[in-house]
C-alpha cells in the first residue's frame, strides 16, 4: 500500500503528513519534560537552605557536551539542506558527523560523568551535630558572609563496608576540597574545573549522620532529579542516533535516495526536528543543573 502525502502536501492541512505527526509528538514531549521540570522547580524551591548542592557537576565537561549538541544540530540541518540540493555525498558526511556528535555526548555522559558521581560519597550531618563538624563545614564563616550553610560532608569513601555493616560506627572519608578547607573564601563559590578529593581524611560518626550514601539517585532530591532528567534526555539522544544511523546506512539512506530523494529529505527533516528538540531540552538542563 502506498502511504499518501509523504512528499506532496495534503490539501486540508497544507503539510505532508509526517510533519504534522512529528509536531504532535513533540507537543507531547513538551508535556513530558515540562512535568519533570516543574517537579524539579517544586523540589528545589522547597529545599531547606544548604540542601540543594551547587557546583557538584563538572562545568567544563558540561559546556563541552552542550557545544557538541549544538554542533550536531547544525550538522543535521546541513545534512537536510544537502539532500534538498541533491548532494548525497555531502549528506552522508554531515549525517555521519551528527551521529558522531551524538555518540560522543552519550559516551561522556555514561562513561565519565555518571560513574564519577557513583564513586562519590556524601553524608548529611544531623542539625545537633553541625557544631561538632564545624572544622569541615565552616558555617560561621558562611553565616558572616550571608551565605547558606553547609550541611553535608563529601568526598571519597574509604570504608565502603560502612554503608551496609551496622558494626562499623564511622565513615572514613578523603575530603572534598570544600570540606578540607571550608574557611577559605575561594571555596565560597563552586570551582570551574573539577577538583578531586584531597588527601585529608575525616572520620564521621554514623550517630551524627542524618543520611549518607553514594551520589546515586536515592542520595537526594537533587540527584534524583538530575539522573531522571539527564537519563531521559540521554535516552532521547540514543533514539535519535539510532534513527540517524538507519538513515545513514544504505538500507535507509541511498536506497530511498534513489527511489525518492525528496522523501528521504523529509524523513531527515522530521528526525532533525526531534533532534533539535532534544538540543532544546539540553539548553535548559545545562544551566539548571550545572551552573545554578
Amino acid at each position: 500500500m502506498e502511504i499518501p502525502y509523504t512528499v506532496s502536501t495534503r490539501p486540508d492541512t497544507g503539510l505532508w503528513n509526517a510533519k504534522v505527526g512529528i509536531w504532535l509528538f513533540l507537543a507531547s514531549e513538551v508535556m513530558l519534560f515540562g512535568g519533570l521540570f516543574s517537579a524539579y522547580i517544586f523540589l528545589r524551591l522547597d529545599a531547606e537552605p544548604g540542601f540543594w548542592p551547587h557546583g557538584l557537576l563538572n562545568v567544563p565537561v558540561g559546556t563541552m557536551n552542550t557545544a557538541i549538541l549544538i554542533a550536531s544540530s547544525v550538522t543535521v540541518v546541513l545534512a537536510w539542506a544537502a539532500l534538498k540540493m541533491r548532494q548525497f555525498t555531502r549528506y552522508k558526511i554531515y549525517m555521519g558527523l551528527t551521529i558522531l556528535c551524538g555518540i560522543i555526548f552519550l559516551v561522556v555522559k555514561l562513561a565519565y560523568e555518571w560513574p564519577q558521581k557513583f564513586e562519590h560519597f556524601g553524608a548529611y550531618i544531623k542539625k545537633s551535630a553541625l557544631e561538632k563538624y564545624e572544622p569541615y563545614l565552616g558555617n560561621k564563616h558562611l553565616a558572616e558572609k550571608g551565605l547558606p550553610p553547609r550541611v553535608e560532608i563529601s568526598g571519597h569513601l574509604h570504608n565502603h563496608e560502612a554503608l551496609h555493616d551496622p558494626n562499623v560506627k564511622e565513615y572514613e572519608i578523603a575530603l572534598d576540597p570544600v570540606n578540607a578547607d571550608p574557611m577559605n573564601p575561594a571555596m565560597d563559590r563552586p570551582h570551574f574545573f573539577y577538583v578531586p578529593p584531597t588527601e585529608k581524611v575525616a572520620n564521621i560518626e554514623k550517630a551524627d549522620v542524618e543520611y549518607a550514601n553514594m551520589f546515586l539517585p536515592k542520595h537526594s532530591a537533587y540527584f534524583a532529579s538530575y539522573f531522571t532528567i539527564t537519563g531521559l534526555h540521554g535516552l532521547h539522544v540514543l533514539g535519535g542516533v539510532l534513527v540517524f544511523i538507519y538513515f545513514w546506512l544504505p538500507i535507509g539512506g541511498s536506497r530511498m535516495y534513489r527511489q525518492n530523494p525528496e522523501h528521504l529529505a523529509n524523513r531527515v527533516e522530521v528526525a532533525g526536528l526531534f533532534w533539535h528538540f532534544v538540543d532544546l531540552v539540553w539548553i535548559f538542563v545545562f544551566p539548571l543543573f550545572y551552573l545554578l
Binding site: T13, K19, F42, T63, P287
Partner: protein, 113 residues
Amino acid sequence: MNNPPDVSQDPAEHEEYAHNVQKHVKGYLVVGAMLLAFTAITVALSYVDFGTRKANIAVAMLVAMLKAGLVAAIFMHLAAEKRLIYRVLLFTFFFVFGLFWLTFLAWYDPITH
C-alpha cells in the same frame, strides 16, 4: 528567514533552487555560532553575582530562552511554518504554562506557608 521552497523537477529551476538553499546554509552556520557564543555567555554569567540567587536564575533562564527561541525559529523552521503547526503549539504552550502555574500555586499555598 523563510524556509527553502520545495524542490523543482525542472533542471534550470533546480539550479536556482540549489543556490537559494545555499543561502540558508550560511544562516544556519551563523545561528550555530551564535548558540555557541550564548553558551559561553551563560557559563560566564553564572560566575557573576547579580545580588540574589533569584536574579542569577532569572538571567540564566533568559539567555536559555533566547537560545531555545533561536533553535525553534531557525533550525526547526518555526519562523515560517504553516498555520496548523502554530495551532498545535498554541495548545501545547497553554497546557505547559498551566502545568507550571499549578507548581507555583502549590508553592504559594497560603495554608502551609
